[in-house]
Symmetry: C2
Subunit: 183 residues, 2 copies
């Protein structure tokens, strides 16, 4: 039974905004936190069970059939603040694109170009997703108190995507200079 503090933080945090089912929890983590966080069913349900056992969430509605909603308790809010205050643990760096480019001499210049162009296209797509996400949250006045913080995370995503685009353009130009025949 995985009980990482990280998963508990994400689950309690989401439930601190509004009560929802485990299914909805996963959907909103994917759709709203998706660009900087992820959780799978295999973690969410055991985490909910543990949090319920410890009195941090309360299950509302029948457990057996159909929908049951999980709500955060007062103890759960205290636990959330405790978790949020813990030092940020750096995720181990694992960037498959940069690993391939580092060995670009073995991979070949043309394949490198394609990888960089792909990363640039992904970044452009993410920028469009951020626009949509911004519009969605701005349209819901009940989240007004949370929106400024949500905006910080979207802004981080935008800055990152812009950085990828600038880097890609610069890098494609550098590879052209290295090997002027685009072949």
């Amino acid at each position: 039974m995985p009980r990482s503090g990280q998963t508990d933080m994400a689950v309690l945090g989401a439930l601190s905004i509004e009560p929802m089912s485990g299914y909805a929890l996963r959907e909103s983590i994917r759709d709203v936190l998706g660009h900087f966080w992820s959780e799978s069913f295999g973690q969410i349900y055991p985490a909910l069970a543990g949090l319920e056992r410890d009195g941090f969430v309360r299950r509302e509605g029948a457990a057996k059939r159909g929908a049951s909603t999980f709500a955060i308790t007062a103890a759960g809010r205290r636990r959330l603040r405790e978790l949020l205050t813990e030092p940020v643990q750096a995720a181990p760096a694992r960037n498959g694109l940069l690993l391939r480019l580092f060995f670009g001499r073995a991979l070949g210049t043309e394949a490198c170009r394609a990888l960089i162009a792909g990363a640039r296209a992904d970044a452009e797509r993410r920028l469009r997703e951020f626009d949509a996400l911004d519009a969605r949250t701005a349209a819901e006045p009940q989240y007004a108190d949370d929106a400024p913080f949500w905006h910080l995370t979207i802004s981080a995503g935008r800055h990152h995507a812009h950085a990828v685009i600038a880097w890609a353009d610069e890098s494609l130009a550098a590879l052209d200079h290295l090997d002027p025949d685009g072949r």
Copy 2:
């Protein structure tokens, strides 16, 4: 015995540049690929054993006592090209800083400010590390053919660090506007 293609790629790639011991492999992965990749002993040694069994690396020097060096074979180079050509698999997003900021209303504005300032300081430190890394590779003429590719990865790190700094400054200003008394 973990045998992920990702670890094999990093190990074969490093050995494609020059033969070295498992220990040195870990050091150079930490020191050179550190800003975008990581491997631990628990993965490197089993990976080396598997690669040796499959004929992709050859152990030179006594296995029992003191140093033994691992060198990539011709089959290993073919295997490396094969691995490098595989599609980049996106690492699951896990950014503990942004997760905390997203729940910034529960964490408190002041703690958010401190987290952002910390991220900014980390980025500044990384920029200095990139300068040192650049100087180190530029000083070794034997890596001239690889250096242009290595430079792409360092440039990516720099762009990313600059993006973090710009985002942090913007975000700190936004939080000031939200709550003018810094208390």
